[in-house]
C-alpha cells in the first residue's frame, strides 16, 4: 500500500493532477481546488491509502503539481 497526501489549501486549481489520475483526484466545483478522493482530512492534509499499482500515477501527480503539495509515501506494513 502507498499513502497519498494532499495539502489542499495551497492548491492553485490548475487541474493537472485530475488530468492524470481522475480516479484519485477531483476538482471541487465549490472552491475550484483539488480534492483527494476518499481522503481523510487531518489539519488541512488529506490522506488516502491506495494499492501499489497506483504508485506510478500518484508519483506522476506529485511531479506535475506546480506548487508541490502532493506527497507519496510507502506505507509501513506491520509484520
Amino acid at each position: 500500500m502507498i499513502a497519498v497526501t494532499l495539502q489542499r489549501n495551497k492548491c492553485i486549481g490548475c487541474n493537472y493532477c485530475f488530468e492524470i489520475a481522475p480516479d484519485m483526484f477531483r476538482m471541487s466545483t465549490k472552491d475550484g481546488k483539488s480534492i483527494l478522493v476518499n481522503g481523510e482530512d487531518k489539519r488541512g492534509f488529506a490522506t488516502v491509502r491506495v494499492h501499489d499499482e497506483y504508485e506510478d500515477k500518484a508519483n506522476q501527480c506529485k511531479e506535475v503539481c506546480p506548487v508541490k503539495i502532493i506527497k507519496v509515501h510507502q506505507c509501513k506494513v506491520k509484520k
Binding site: I12, G13, C14, Y16, M27, T29, D31, G32, C65, P66
Partner: protein, 412 residues
C-alpha cells in the same frame, strides 16, 4: 491639473496598513488562488474581505479585488462566490481579465476594472470593454503618446462605462516589468508545469542564461547574462508627462514585496503626485525621491516604453539593487500605552543607540524610526544583545510585530 489616483499593491495586512498610512487612494489585492500571485504564501482569504472593506472604507480608500487569472470550468463557482462577497462587503471593484468574470460581475452589479492581462492598446478595444468596465489599465508596451491618443479619444467620442461616467485610464507607474507581452508568458509553464497565467510564475526570466547557436556551436557573446530580466519601471522623473497623457490612475506593482517597500514607494509617489497638484514638482525634488525609491528592493530603474525607447533595458544582477537591507533583531513583547513604551525581546544580533529600525506586523503595518534612546532590562543603555529585553518610546506595537535593523546593502 487633474488629480491622479495612487493605487497600492497589497499582499498582506502589513502592506495594506502601510499603504493606507502612506496615503494611497486605493489598494488592490488578491484572495485564494484566483489571482496572479497565487503562489505567494500569504494571500488574503475570502474571510478577510469583510475587514478589508471596513478598514479601507473607514479611511476613504477604494478597494479592488484582483480576479484576473485564466478561469476554468471548475472555477466558475468560486468566481461567483468571490463576486458576491465583493458586493456584500463593499469592495469597490474587481479587476478582471476573463470574460466569465466580466459577465458575472456586471450581472451582479459589481464595478469592473480591466486587467493588464487583457492587453488594451487602442480606442476600439476601450469602447468594446466599456460595455462592462469603468476603468481600464493600458498595456505597458504603449508610449505616452499612444496613451494620450486613447484618453483624447475617450473624451472626444464620449466613451462611458456602465456607471455612466467617462472611462478612466490607468497605467503602471512603478515596479517590476515582465519580459512577456502583458504578462502572457509560457516559460514557467514549460519549464515547471507552473502557469504564470494561474498566478504561479516561477520567474525563469530572472535567472542567467547563455545563448548557444546549435548549428555552429558558437556561444553568442552577451555582456549581460540576465537576457530576459528587464529593469524595474519608474515614472517619478517624468510624472508630469504621465499626468499630461490624461491618465487617471497610477498603479504601483508589488504584491509580492515587503511592507516597507509598499510604504516607501507609496509615500514617495504620494509626495510627487501632490507636488504636481500644487505646482511644486521639480527636478530637485525628483532627486530626493529617486534616492528613496532606490533604498528599497529594485533591479535598477528605467522608464519602460512610455518615452518611446525601442529597446528594453535589462537587469544585470540577480537580486535587488536596494541601497538598504533589513536584519532581523527582535520580536514584540509588550506595549505600555500610557508612557508609550514598546518592549521587544532581542532574538538575534545586536542593536545600538542611533540605529535605524523598521517594525512590521499585520496590525501595526510599518513603523520606521531612529533609536535615540534605548533601555535594556529597564536601564538606559548603549546597545542591546540577544536575550535582552529592549524598551524604547514608540507608537503602538503588538506582540505579532517584528523589529529589524536597517543597514547599508554591502552588495551595491
Amino acid at each position: 491639473m487633474q488629480k491622479i489616483e495612487l493605487m497600492a499593491p497589497c499582499g498582506n495586512w502589513e502592506s495594506m496598513r502601510a499603504a493606507v498610512m502612506a496615503g494611497a487612494d486605493s489598494v488592490y489585492f488578491g484572495v485564494e488562488q484566483m489571482n496572479m500571485r497565487a503562489r505567494a504564501t500569504a494571500n488574503f482569504t475570502v474571510d478577510d474581505l469583510k475587514e478589508i472593506g471596513e478598514y479601507c472604507n473607514s479611511h476613504n480608500v477604494r478597494t479592488y479585488l484582483t480576479l484576473n487569472t485564466i478561469v476554468y470550468d471548475h472555477d466558475l463557482s468560486i468566481v461567483k462566490t468571490l463576486i458576491s462577497a465583493v458586493k456584500e462587503h463593499n469592495i469597490t471593484a474587481v479587476i478582471a481579465a476573463d470574460q466569465a468574470v466580466l459577465n458575472n460581475a456586471r450581472t451582479a452589479g459589481v464595478e469592473v476594472h480591466i486587467s493588464t492581462q487583457l492587453n488594451v492598446t487602442n480606442l476600439e478595444t476601450v469602447k468594446f470593454y466599456a460595455l462592462f468596465a469603468d476603468v481600464m489599465v493600458l498595456s505597458r508596451e504603449l508610449s505616452l503618446t499612444q496613451v494620450r491618443k486613447i484618453t483624447d479619444g475617450i473624451s472626444k467620442e464620449d466613451v462611458r462605462g456602465p456607471s455612466g461616467n467617462l472611462i478612466e485610464i490607468e497605467i503602471f507607474g512603478h515596479g517590476a516589468l515582465c519580459m512577456a507581452v502583458s504578462g502572457k508568458c509560457y516559460l514557467s509553464l514549460h519549464s515547471n508545469n507552473s502557469s504564470a497565467n494561474r498566478g504561479a510564475c516561477v520567474q525563469n526570466c530572472r535567472r542567467t542564461y547563455t545563448v548557444i547557436d546549435n548549428e555552429s556551436g558558437n556561444e553568442l557573446e552577451i555582456d549581460n547574462q540576465y537576457i530576459m530580466s528587464p529593469k524595474d519601471l519608474c515614472t517619478i522623473y517624468f510624472l508630469d508627462q504621465v499626468a499630461d497623457s490624461g491618465v487617471k490612475v497610477l498603479k504601483i506593482e508589488g504584491r509580492g514585496r515587503a511592507p516597507e517597500y509598499v510604504k516607501t514607494t507609496i509615500e514617495t509617489y504620494r509626495e510627487a503626485i501632490d507636488a504636481l497638484q500644487n505646482g511644486t514638482y521639480s527636478q530637485e525634488k525628483v532627486k530626493g525621491w529617486m534616492e528613496r525609491l532606490e533604498s528599497v528592493y529594485n533591479r535598477g530603474f528605467w522608464s519602460g516604453y512610455y518615452l518611446g525607447q525601442k529597446m528594453g533595458e535589462w537587469h544585470d544582477g540577480s537580486g535587488s539593487k536596494a541601497t538598504q537591507k533589513k536584519v532581523y533583531i527582535a520580536k514584540g513583547a509588550h506595549y505600555y500605552p500610557k508612557p508609550q513604551i514598546a518592549e521587544f525581546l532581542v532574538e538575534a544580533q545586536k542593536i545600538k543607540k542611533g540605529d535605524k529600525i523598521l517594525i512590521t506586523g499585520p496590525t501595526t503595518g510599518v513603523i520606521e524610526m531612529e533609536l535615540d534612546e534605548i533601555y535594556v532590562n529597564g536601564q538606559p543603555a548603549e546597545e542591546a544583545v540577544k536575550g535582552d529585553q529592549l524598551t524604547f518610546k514608540c507608537d503602538r506595537i503588538r506582540t505579532t510585530d517584528k523589529l529589524y535593523k536597517m543597514i547599508p546593502n554591502p552588495d551595491v
